[in-house]
Every structure is written in structure tokens, then in C-alpha cells.
């Protein structure tokens, strides 16, 4: 391949192709290619998906068979990590399991896949650029994520084990090193890892925003951007503005732990007989406010890119334009604006001023409106459509239906009087697993199968994709729907031994059913991973546009060449021109870089 002399600068005519990296190290390890960086994030996140999933299996064992030795693993790990000498899970170890399961899944799996993998891989392709605005910064973002991941992994192996104060890390449990095993080094390492990860996030958000604002191909106006890219834009704003507040929270808590300040310790907090804060002056609620100021936008980071992926998958496989493109964009912007002012709904029972409770309740209920608009628009897209039930579509449809359930349960907890009863119960656990697993993770599966040809030049096996989807969908609902019932019955979160509470004993058969379903659910994910890795090397070779989709990346061969586009494309319309007759004689789709036949220019698509 005759590449031009090395040049990092994009030119509209496409004459200056950058030189291809040579050698395994430059191509796959120390790379500046956004596509390879995206895969680096993906594979690292897959590792943590396995670890986090394994922790969930241990949690479910304990809930179904409290204090009974764990098969196989209990034998191997007797007396080590969270296990007692007889191989069962210790109560103080149990909260380490729940803490690390949540931490790993949120920070080291879902966000890296949505933003690090999909964002990196797709944004330059969708805006018609050769790479992001700052490729070096992009690589740096990954090389900040990896040490953070290593630090959090190392926290499993320090004396007394990893952090135990919940992924929410409330003070004083997280603050006082002797409070519980894991509150010492485990918690300190947790805080350092999260701080580093925050850096990675902020730089990534900055990079993506500059890319989308400045590097769009000629003709690609804001009104012609795919919804995947719009969702990444809104997510990048959250990352840029909310993550620094998490950074300041972790710095303050680290200061408390390492240099003896008392930001989050009121006066005279005692551990056994020792006064740990003689001067005090801090406030426990302060941690909660600063933490949730970031962590509520974080949950929108967890869901918005999935919404964008679902929109594009549904449009492609329903062969219809997305219903209400402008409303989809404005609803995402609305979610972004409202998302900054609702954090207090995590604190309704914390003892904060009830007037603030009312304020946050109102704002939270308002957020249901743009979310509802999006749901109706997905349904509107499907209405009257000739649906192709390919595996990505099965996952996208699961996203919509599971998100509806998760969103509805969210309305219940938005109402403060109701939340007083269901806060810190399994009702909440059901809600967020429905939106993050039932929503985002299904969107991730669908997106990975959909863009697999572009990433690896091959197709994932269709039969096993459908098998994985079917088992996951059924098992997922068997695991998480009954949790609504547990929560209503008063089953608290993060308790190690449900059977020691009298009012929970009648509910225990539900716990057993959930756990058995969870074991099936966990095992089924191995089917996806096997399919993924097998297909990478031996899958059916893919053509350029196997799904007949409109966005710019499908105009290129599979896998995408390292330079993305030999000529920077000129965009004529939005990406949702489907089911057209006589569209350039090709069938029922019209790529963005082709004008409508007969017209010199396009009148289709938004402005």
C-alpha cells in the first residue's frame, strides 16, 4: 500500500494519508489509532466484566445459601480474601463483594466500554475524520485507565482486602481505617484508582467534544449527525463537568485518611473507645452531596450512549427513519440539563432538609419526560415497520423494553414518600439493574455484534448470538424482576444473612430462585465471549455493509483501513434514509455521502 509521507493533519481532499504503524508493539500496544485504542478499552473491560460477574455469583451464593461453604472456590480460598476458614463468605467480606462488584461494573466495565470502546471507535468514523482531535491525548486516556484498573485489582490483594464501604464509599465507614476490613489500604487504593480514572474520563470527554465540534466532514451539520454521535456528545459534557467534582470528593476523603483532616468527620466519632475526631468539624452529609453530584450524572453516562446505539440499530433493522429525530436530540439535551440538578434523590432518607427533598423530587419526576419522549419515539420508529430480527435488533428491542421497566420503577423511587420505604432495599437494586443491564448491557451486546464486521472484518456467529440473547433475556428477567418483590417486602441491600431477619424468612425461596437464575445468566455470558473471540479469528468474512446501514463507516471495507477514509466524505443528508424506492438503484438505503438520485443536492434530512 503506497501511503503518503507521514502527516498527522487532515486535508479535505484526502491526499495526505498518515503512514501505517509497523510492528506488533506500535500497532497494538503503543498506538494512537482510535480504533485500536477502542479495542484496548474493550478487552480490558471484558476482563473486569468476568471479575465483576464472578463477584456477583459469590454474592448470589451467599444470598441463597447464607454462611454455607461455597463449592469449589470456597475450598480453594479457605481463610483467604472474603472467605472464612470453612470456605463460606464472612459478613465483613460480603460487603467487600458488593462494593467491588458495583465499583468494577460501573467504573471499569460499563463506562470504559460505552465511552472508551464505542466512543473511541465510532466518533471519528461517524464524523468522517481520520482520528480524534488529539490522538496523543486519546492514548494517554487509555494509559491512565489501565493503571487505575491495576490499582483497583491490586486492592484485592492488600492485607484485609478491598474497599468495603459500598461503591458509594460513605464516610465514616470509608474514612476510619479500622472501621471494617478494607477501610484501610483497600479504601485508599480505591480512592486513588478512582481519581486516576477521573483524569482519564475528563481528558476523554474533552477530546471527543473537540472532535465532534471541529472535525465534522463537509456537509455534516449538527442536524445530520447520527444519534450515536449525539449521545456521545451529551455524555462527553457530563464527563467533562461532573467528573472533576468526583475528583475533588476523592481528594477530600484521601486528605481525611492520609493527612488527618476532618472534612467528613463530625466531632468525637468513636471507634471502640478511641476518639477518632477530637476536633471534628466535618459533615457526613457533605460526602454524600459531593459524591452524588457526580454519581447521578454518571448514571446518565451509563445509559445515554446505549440510547444512541439503540436508536441507530432500531432504525437500521426496522428500515425506517428514526421517529422524531429533533425530539430525540432535544430530549438528550434535556436529560443532560436536568441530570445535574437531581442528585439529592439518592439522599431522601439521609436526614437532609425535607424541603430539599421536595425540590429534588420535582426535578427527578421531570426527567421522566424526555426519557418518555425517547421511548415513544422508538416505538414510533417500530410502528408499521418491516422488522429484520437480526441479533443486533433483538438486543436493541430488549434495550427498549427493559429500559421501560427500569424507568417505571424509577418513577416510584422519585416520589420521596415511596422512597422512604424502598430506599436501600432490593427494589432499588432491581431498578438500576434493569436500566444498566437490561438497558445498557443489551445495547452493548447489540452494538458489538453490529459493529463487529467493522472492527474485525468478520461476522459473529448468528445462531449462537441468538442463543446467547434468548438465555440472557429470560434469565435476566428471572433474576431481577423478583427483586422488586423482595424490595417491597422489606429486603434490605448489602446484608449478608437475610435468614436472620424474621420478616425476610418467608421471602427466602425467592432469593434461591434468583440465585439459580443468576448462575444460568452468568454462564450464558460465556457463550457471548466464546462467540466473540472465536469469530475474531475464524468468523465468516464480512462484506463492506452487511447490515445495509447508512452511516459513513459502512461505505468503507470491513475491517476499516487504518486511515478510515481515503477521501474525506462529503455528507448530503442525515443517516436515516431507509425504505426509499429507486434510491440510486441500490435497494432501500442511502448512505450519507450519496446525494439523492436526480437531485444535485439533498433536500432530505434535517437542516
Amino acid at each position: 500500500m503506497s501511503a503518503e509521507k507521514h502527516s498527522e493533519h487532515h486535508e479535505s481532499g484526502g491526499e495526505h494519508l498518515p503512514a501505517e504503524a509497523t510492528g506488533f508493539f506500535r500497532k497494538y500496544i503503543l498506538t494512537y489509532d482510535h480504533k485500536v485504542i477502542g479495542k484496548q478499552y474493550l478487552f480490558t473491560a471484558f476482563f473486569f466484566l468476568l471479575v465483576g460477574g464472578g463477584l456477583a455469583m459469590l454474592i448470589r451464593w451467599q444470598m441463597a445459601y447464607p454462611n454455607q461453604p461455597v463449592p469449589v472456590i470456597g475450598e480453594l480460598m479457605k481463610g483467604r480474601f472474603v472467605f472464612t476458614p470453612d470456605g463460606s463468605i464472612a459478613p465483613e467480606g460480603f460487603i467487600q463483594l458488593t462494593t467491588m462488584h458495583g465499583t468494577l461494573m460501573i467504573f471499569f466495565v460499563i463506562i470504559p466500554i460505552l465511552v472508551g470502546a464505542f466512543g473511541n471507535f465510532l466518533i471519528p468514523l461517524h464524523v468522517g475524520a481520520r482520528d480524534v482531535a488529539f490522538p496523543f491525548l486519546n492514548a494517554l486516556s487509555y494509559w491512565l485507565y489501565l493503571p487505575a484498573a491495576l490499582i483497583i485489582f491490586a486492592s484485592f490483594f492488600v492485607p484485609q482486602g478491598p474497599a468495603a464501604a459500598g461503591w458509594t464509599s460513605y464516610s465514616p465507614l470509608s474514612n476510619l481505617s479500622g472501621a471494617t476490613p478494607g477501610s484501610g489500604w483497600g479504601q485508599t487504593l480505591w480512592l486513588m484508582a478512582i481519581f486516576l480514572l477521573g483524569f482519564s474520563s475528563i481528558l476523554g470527554g474533552l477530546n471527543f467534544l473537540v472532535t465532534i465540534v471541529k472535525l465534522r466532514a463537509p456537509g455534516l451539520t449538527w442536524g445530520r449527525l447520527p444519534l450515536v454521535t449525539w449521545s456521545q456528545t451529551v455524555t462527553a459534557v457530563f464527563q467533562l463537568l461532573a467528573t472533576p467534582v468526583l475528583a475533588s470528593a476523592t481528594c477530600l476523603l484521601l486528605a481525611d485518611k492520609l493527612i488527618g483532616s476532618t472534612f467528613f468527620l463530625p466531632a468525637h466519632v468513636h471507634l471502640a473507645d478511641t476518639d477518632m475526631s477530637p476536633t471534628g468539624g466535618g459533615a457526613v452529609l457533605l460526602w454524600q452531596h459531593i459524591f452524588w453530584f457526580y454519581s447521578h450524572p454518571a448514571v446518565y453516562i451509563l445509559v445515554l450512549p446505549g440510547m444512541g446505539i439503540a436508536s441507530d440499530l432500531i432504525s437500521t433493522f426496522a428500515r425506517k427513519p428514526i421517529f422524531g429525530y429533533r425530539a430525540m436530540v432535544w430530549s438528550m439535551v434535556g436529560i443532560m440539563g436536568l441530570g445535574f440538578i437531581v442528585w439529592g434523590h439518592h439522599m431522601f432518607v439521609s436526614g437532609m432538609n425535607p424541603v430539599m427533598g421536595m425540590t429534588f423530587m420535582t426535578a427527578t419526576m421531570l426527567i421522566a419526560l424526555p426519557s418518555g419522549v425517547k421511548v415513544f419515539n422508538w416505538l414510533g420508529t417500530l410502528w408499521g415497520a418491516n422488522i429484520r430480527f437480526a441479533p443486533p435488533m433483538l438486543h436493541a428491542l430488549s434495550f427498549v423494553s427493559m429500559f421501560i421497566i427500569g424507568g417505571l420503577s424509577g418513577l416510584f423511587m422519585a416520589a420521596t414518600p415511596v422512597d422512604i420505604h424502598i430506599h436501600d432495599t432490593y427494589y432499588i437494586v432491581a431498578h438500576f439493574h434493569y436500566v444498566v443491564f437490561g438497558g445498557t448491557l443489551f445495547a452493548i451486546f447489540g452494538g458489538l455484534i453490529f459493529w463487529f464486521p467493522k472492527m474485525f472484518g468478520r461476522m459473529m456467529n448468528e445462531f449462537w448470538s441468538k442463543v446467547h440473547w434468548a438465555i440472557t433475556f429470560v434469565a435476566f428477567n428471572c433474576v431481577f424482576f423478583p427483586m422488586h418483590i423482595l424490595g417491597e417486602g422489606g429486603h434490605m441491600r448489602r446484608i449478608a444473612t437475610p435468614t436472620e431477619y424474621e420478616w425476610l424468612q418467608p421471602l427466602q425461596p425467592i432469593n434461591v430462585f434468583i440465585s439459580h437464575s443468576a448462575f444460568v445468566l452468568g454462564a450464558a455470558q460465556l457463550i457471548f465471549l466464546a462467540n466473540f473471540f472465536y469469530s475474531m479469528f475464524w468468523g465468516k468474512k464480512a462484506e463492506g455493509n452487511p447490515w445495509q446501514s447508512n452511516t459513513l463507516e459502512w461505505t468503507q471495507p470491513s475491517p476499516i483501513p487504518y486511515y478510515n477514509y481515503d477521501k474525506i466524505p462529503v455528507v448530503h443528508h442525515g443517516p436515516y434514509e431507509y425504505s426509499l424506492e429507486h434510491a440510486n438503484g441500490r435497494g432501500d438505503w442511502l448512505p450519507q455521502n450519496e446525494p439523492v438520485a436526480g437531485n444535485g443536492s439533498s433536500g432530505h434530512g434535517s437542516k
Binding site: 475533588s248 477530600l252 483532616s261 476536633t279
Partner: protein
């Protein structure tokens, strides 16, 4: 119409400069949020502390040197002025003036850090630490992170000044017209420096005066 939209791409320099400036403005927005977390903590904790003789937030209990901090404030404000002059000189292509103003800014920034060091030193020698009480916890964290940002700014300015001065010296010795330090880099560093100054304008009254 599409052809008209296929704009002739601007020169590489101008295009890069636009991206760099946008990136710096976005980064500054994230820095504002970062310091907002700390400032919000200070305000909340101060309001939550009951009034009384032993309130660590009382002016008389704070033992801070307002005169020293005033000198620091003047130094930073003046440094923002010299920074703006350096940016203007850079855009004019005036190598010598760019060096001069960059160096002035560095000196003023270093003066700020020196005075801060003296302040911290006197505190430590009087056994006043972040753990002493909640006011000092806030004081050390707020001024500590601010000081770290000043230090990073001074280092960035130092790198720019060295690069620019090399160009000046090369011209002096062998004539010719060596390219000076990148004016866009000077401008972006200038934006960062102004933010560091603005943060101090908030911290000074908050910690020392009010």
C-alpha cells in the same frame, strides 16, 4: 450546494489553533468544577460550624497573614497582566518582548509560590497542620491544590520561555529568523494562567478576609 459546502480547508496552523483553544476552554471548565467542589465544601462546613469563641473559622482563630496574602494577590494579578502582554507579543511575532514578558510572569508566579512556602513553613513550625482543625484542613487543601496548579503553570511557562529564548539567542548569534515559541501555545497557557489567577481571587477573600 454540497460542493459549496466542501470548504477549502483552512491552513494547518489556524485549524490546529482553533482546536487547541477550544480544548483549553473545555479543560478550564473542568478545572472550575474541580475547585467548585472544594469551595462548596468550605462554604458548607463553615455554615455548619456553630458560632462561638472556639469556632475555628473566626478571624481571630485563623492566624493568617493578610499582608503576605495581599502581596501574593498583587503578584498574581500583575502576572496575569504580564501574561497578556506576552500573548500579544507572541501574536505580533516579537520574540524579544515575548521572552521578557514570559520571564516576568514566571518570576511573579515563583514569588507567589515562595510566599506560600513561607506561610506553610510558619504554620508547620507552630504545629499547625491540616489535622489541627477543620478550617486548617480546608485552608491547606484549597491553597495546596491551587499552589499545585500555579506550579504546573510556572513549569509550562518555563518550557515556553526556554524555547523562545533559544530562538532569540540563535538569531543573535547567527542572524536569520528562527521560529519563536508557538503563539497558540502561549495563548493557551495564558488562558490557563488567567484561570489560576481567578481561582486565587476567590480563595483570597474566602480564606483571608471574610
Amino acid at each position: 450546494m454540497a460542493e459549496a459546502l466542501a470548504v477549502h480547508a483552512p491552513t494547518h496552523g489556524a485549524e490546529d489553533a482553533h482546536r487547541a483553544k477550544l480544548a483549553m476552554w473545555l479543560f478550564l471548565a473542568s478545572e472550575v468544577m474541580f475547585f467548585s467542589g472544594f469551595i462548596a465544601a468550605y462554604i458548607v462546613l463553615r455554615n455548619a460550624t456553630p458560632a462561638g469563641q472556639n469556632n475555628p473559622f473566626n478571624i481571630e482563630n485563623r492566624h493568617l497573614s493578610v499582608p503576605l496574602a495581599t502581596v501574593n494577590t498583587m503578584a498574581l494579578i500583575l502576572s496575569s497582566f504580564t501574561m497578556a502582554l506576552a500573548v500579544a507579543a507572541g501574536q505580533r511575532g516579537d520574540k524579544a518582548k515575548t521572552s521578557m514578558y514570559l520571564i516576568c510572569t514566571i518570576l511573579l508566579g515563583t514569588l507567589f509560590l515562595g510566599i506560600k512556602g513561607v506561610e506553610y513553613g510558619t504554620k508547620f513550625s507552630h504545629h499547625i497542620f491540616p489535622s489541627t482543625n477543620v478550617f486548617y484542613g480546608c485552608y491547606f487543601v484549597l491553597t495546596g491544590f491551587h499552589g499545585l496548579h500555579v506550579l504546573i503553570g510556572v513549569l509550562a511557562l518555563f518550557i515556553l520561555a526556554v524555547g523562545n529564548e533559544r530562538a532569540v539567542l540563535r538569531d543573535m548569534h547567527s542572524g536569520g529568523n528562527t521560529p519563536m515559541a508557538n503563539p497558540c501555545a502561549i495563548e493557551c497557557t495564558g488562558l490557563y494562567w488567567h484561570l489560576v489567577d481567578i481561582v486565587w481571587i476567590f480563595l483570597f477573600p474566602l480564606l483571608y478576609l471574610l
